[in-house]
């Protein structure tokens, strides 16, 4: 069971799209997995032959790391095993044996594990077996819990306490529970409710609660804000859209995404992950775009290589991503790839958003609503459309100075929209 996003702890196999004996190319969609947020098309990142399906589609929620199938890598191809992230959960004995026997001939691996591991090696020893079992029942990520046992070991009591915390969060007023009815006390932490829309909403809230609480617990955020005169960019956009058919127009959010992605090239230490107690920069810039879902909740799937795409391609990718996110159908690479998150709360009148970083990412870029306000240009007070850009940075990885350089770069790039 791949980890499809930092907030995923378990998933359900909805369907297999390949059969045993079939050849699998890198990028082939081999299965559909349901997470708390969407049905995700799981892409293989290795080549080989699907040897055996270990888990049939069904209602069972499986912990991330549970082997789902065996793929035999072809002779002569690069052994895929060592490249895989170590699964965070112990492998069942049968799977271990199945891997061990053919390993002498050709590497066979449990497929696929995704996303960089979110915790250091040796993680398993720090969670007691009873705690792990109970965490799975409660759909919590045991690795994300604070342990009070010997050497910080996570105990059964820690899991129960965390479950109560989730309940309290679910009942508090801090979540914008648009149309969601919270269940009576205790129900929030019960295993896999029936797949109704309300149940799905609840699961999404619990998933978001887990990731955001972990972020605020572990990541020392710093926040920066910068007012940007968007006049030039909006004028350029209006002119560019004027003669174009409705299917070829851009919305200003695409300019913001492109500018942020290009600025990350200049300050690359904001782009990547915090893993194993150090920052690991990513060369590729995959912008996770926060997309609010109708009825509440959000996902932040990746616009891949956002810095390299022409605006038209970026716009098409963005439209497609929003459509599929809201329909609940995303690809595994989209949910696991984001190296940074961009959120725009524009259009609803907020001045600025100081976001919570999506772990294990290093930064989150926020954009408020562009509004006409008085601004001084060449000694004169003039009305200009002003936009507040913000950065939430992980202070373990970067300092405010670098963050300030990033926001300055975003501003500079938006003053030359034709260069985006």
């Amino acid at each position: 069971m791949p980890r499809l996003g930092a907030d995923m702890t378990s998933g359900k196999v909805v369907a297999w799209l390949k059969r045993p004996g079939e050849r699998i190319q890198r990028g082939d969609i081999i299965a559909i997995v349901e997470t708390d947020k969407a049905n995700v098309d799981v892409e293989s990142f290795i080549e080989g032959v699907l040897e055996k399906i270990l888990v049939q589609p069904g209602d069972e929620w499986l912990l991330v790391g549970t082997p789902l199938a065996l793929i035999r890598a072809e002779a002569g191809t690069e052994p895929a095993g060592p490249a895989l992230a170590p699964p965070p959960a112990p492998l069942p004995q049968t799977a271990v044996r199945a891997v061990a026997v053919p390993a002498a001939l050709a590497p066979t691996v449990a497929a696929p594990a995704a996303l960089p591991p979110t915790a250091a090696a040796g993680e398993r020893a720090r969670v007691s077996p009873a705690a792990r079992k109970r965490a799975l029942e409660l759909r919590l990520d045991p690795a994300a819990l604070a342990g009070t046992g010997p050497q910080g070991r996570v105990t059964l009591a820690d899991v129960e306490r965390a479950a109560q915390g989730v309940e309290r969060t679910a009942q508090g007023a801090e979540w914008p529970a648009r149309g969601v009815e919270w269940p009576a006390q205790g129900a929030a932490a019960q295993a896999a409710p029936a797949d109704t829309s309300a149940a799905r909403q609840l699961r999404m809230r619990v998933a978001i609660a887990g990731a955001m609480a972990r972020s605020k617990r572990e990541i020392p955020h710093y926040y920066l804000a910068c007012t940007i005169d968007l006049g030039r960019a909006l004028a350029w956009l209006t002119e560019r859209n004027a003669g174009r058919a409705v299917t070829e127009r851009l919305i200003y959010a695409v300019l913001l995404i492109k500018a942020a992605a290009l600025a990350l090239r200049e300050v690359p230490e904001l782009n990547g992950f915090w893993i194993d107690n150090r920052a690991q920069q990513s060369e590729a810039i995959h912008a996770g775009i926060a997309i609010s879902l109708r009825g509440g909740g959000l996902v932040a799937p990746a616009l891949r290589h956002a810095d390299q795409q022409p605006l038209d391609d970026l716009m098409r990718g963005f439209q497609d991503l929003v459509k599929r996110a809201r329909a609940g159908s995303l690809k595994s690479s989209e949910v696991t790839d984001p190296t940074v998150t961009i959120t725009s709360l524009g259009e609803r009148g907020v001045d600025s958003v100081f976001g919570i970083i999506t772990p294990p990412q290093l930064a989150l870029v926020g954009f408020g609503t562009p509004l006409e306000r008085p601004w001084v240009v060449a000694g004169q007070v003039v009305p200009r459309p002003l936009l507040m850009a913000t950065l939430s940075g992980d202070h373990r990885a970067t300092d405010g100075h670098r963050g300030a350089l990033f926001l300055a770069a975003v501003d500079r790039l938006l003053q030359q929209p034709e260069g985006l």
Partner: protein, 86 residues
């Protein structure tokens, strides 16, 4: 096409963008953005869907003229009339 026919098809088109839309509650003279929580991406998709439905490509400069259901109906009726006359 009568204005009533246009209205039915406008609301159908809108339902494609806002699945939870309840046509009984929709206020024809109130801004779509205000009553339906749609953003600029949704609105652009609405214009694209209107284009597919009616064959009318709304120029960027006219987009502001389609803020309400009533306004959409009036705009489209006029555009369709012009096309018939042309």
């Amino acid at each position: 096409m009568t204005e009533d026919e246009i209205r039915v098809r406008v609301i159908q088109t809108l339902s494609g963008i806002v699945p939870e839309l309840d046509p009984g509650v929709l206020k024809p003279a109130v801004s779509l953005r205000d009553q339906l929580d749609i953003d600029s991406m949704d609105f652009l998709n609405f214009l694209i869907a209107l284009h597919q439905e009616f064959g009318v490509d709304v120029p960027e400069a006219d987009a502001g003229k389609l803020a309400t259901v009533d306004a959409c109906v009036a705009y489209l009726a006029q555009a369709l009339r012009k096309r018939t006359q042309a």
